[in-house]
Amino acid sequence: MDSLITAAARALAVGDALGALKRVALRDDAPALALRGIAMAQLGDLVRAKALLKSAARAFGPREAMARARCVVAEAEIALVSRDLTWPPKALEAARKVLEAHGDRVNAAHARNVELRRLVLIGRLDEAERALETLDPTPLPPAARAAHELVVAGIAIRRLQTKAAHEALDRARQAAREAGMPVLTAEVENAAHVLSAPVARLISRWRESPLLLEEVEELLGSGTLVVDACRHVVRDDQLSVSLATRPVLFTLARTLAEAWPADVARGTLIARAFRGKHADESHRARLRVEIGRLRAELRGLAEVSATKRGFALSPRRAGEIAVLAPLVEGQHGAVLAFLADGEAWSSSALAIALGASPRTVQRALDSLAGEGKVQSFGRGRARRWMSPPLPGFPTILLLPGPLPSD
């Protein structure tokens, strides 16, 4: 490595992006391009950063596989932070393997962390947990360890394991302090905010109130029969039945649960489940069929019995029934849930994250925009969607050092 590159890399390492740029601003050799890319990323110009890192990766010679791999990891991290989920994960995996093969454990771990963050972001928690087991954070430098613990916390939060989340966040806070990086500490605090802000609403016959993550966890462990409108499942502490692909059945279950221990009139059920204004004989026949299906689905959890005017739900084991509802209700809740991370998403990235078709997502976004619940900026392929910022998934940027010969 040459003198100015070393000086610039030292400046970058202590967070002096301008100092780094000053030293290599006029140079177009591969390491200079890579450093400029990372400095621009730290300064928030992700578009320019991406272009610089791409040209740096091209400019490194055939013997400099490791330097090229570090550029790819940095590009992947920028893609993740800008919610560009179309960026190929295979390229990141290949780069990680190159770094592992060359004994660059720190940057290989960083690459693994970016992979994990992507999996958590798109809700592939099982895969993320499996990948997590293969990574031992102990030998990592503090900044990388903090980033790792944020991923662990992210998974625990989505798994509703508040204790594990608190512990991971404590470790992340400690590591961020050791790293001496205020940005990182702020990122940890931002992530921790999720634990002290309401995440859902409880609707029961006693009360309707916002719930903290911790309270949600308590509720689910309390033996109450919960009709969970965030995940579209019905569960108690022993059994869980997903109705995610049966929207009519879920609506019926939720309507019955909200009324419990009272029953619900047929007309009300028909109006809620079929959106029919008038209940005619054919609707009544269809309701009977759907109630029969619901009864079969919920067999292990609750009984659905006919009453004089309609139907009523009664739990098999649980003493109580409650409904867990999202903070913001309405159609396209899943789209809103992703946008709630406060980042700017492309509709194609949302489609990947939701596993839905781009057309479906586009329609959902258009109607949400009509209601003023989301906003967009940019045009064409550069168009991005946002919702008013809510606490969400960390957006930390800890790019690797893409330097050769080192």
Binding site: M1, D2, S3, L4, R10
Partner: protein
């Protein structure tokens, strides 16, 4: 060209507070190495760092028998090792793309990293007197017994090689083991080279082959 595997005699470091080794030189007693914001004097017998000078040190280091020379950003500082004061400063010939510094025959020899060449410069003015082309990235330069040696490090491959100072032809090559790079090179005047190990933070002593020590012939 003679080609053989480098023999590592001893490894020093990594040293606390010195993440990298950017350059090395030898003053007859101590190995001086550049770690970014300091020059450190290592006792090669005990393996201990015995003193440090606070000075920017981003690449090659050299010793002329009395003073230290240190590349920092795009200049070369001349430093009094006794006081640690910077006595004078000249521009580096590679405009900051410099890597590797040696003193010999009244001149400074500066490796230019990606420029793949070695400049001979006037230590008073920094004027380029002559340029020797190499075919590899130059990281570390040293003279011993009339032989010009330099380190190379490109990606996975690193070696220490002797070149003809007139033509740049490679005469002899010592391949470093996989995963060990050379950032900075200095002879101890005898059978041993000290090699900086870049981001590993280590300094490695390797042996100089016994043949051809008498002068610079081919």
């Amino acid at each position: 060209m003679k080609k053989s595997a480098a023999t590592i005699i001893r490894e020093y470091g990594p040293f606390p507070g010195a993440e990298r080794v950017n350059g090395v030189t030898f003053d007859g007693e101590h190995v001086w190495f550049a770690s970014g914001d300091r020059l450190n004097a290592l006792d090669p017998a005990s393996g201990e760092v015995v003193r440090s000078i606070e000075v920017a040190s981003h690449a090659g280091t050299a010793f002329d028998g009395e003073f230290l020379y240190q590349i920092a950003e795009d200049v070369i500082h001349k430093i009094d090792p006794k006081t640690g004061h910077i006595l004078s400063t000249i521009p580096a010939p590679g405009n900051g793309g410099d890597s590797g510094l040696a003193w010999a025959e009244g001149s400074l020899w500066v490796g230019q990293h990606r420029g793949r060449r070695i400049h001979q410069i006037d230590p008073e003015t920094g004027k380029i007197l002559r340029t020797i082309e190499s075919n590899r990235v130059v990281t570390g330069v040293t003279w011993v017994d009339g032989q010009l040696w330099h380190g190379t490090w490109e990606g996975d491959d690193s070696d220490v090689r002797r070149i003809d100072p007139e033509t740049g032809e490679v005469l002899e090559r010592l391949d470093m083991p996989e995963g060990t790079g050379v950032s900075g090179l200095e002879s101890d005047g005898g059978d041993c080279f000290f090699c900086g190990g870049g981001g590993s933070g280590k300094i490695r002593a390797i042996s100089r082959p016994a043949q051809g020590k008498e002068g610079k012939g081919k």
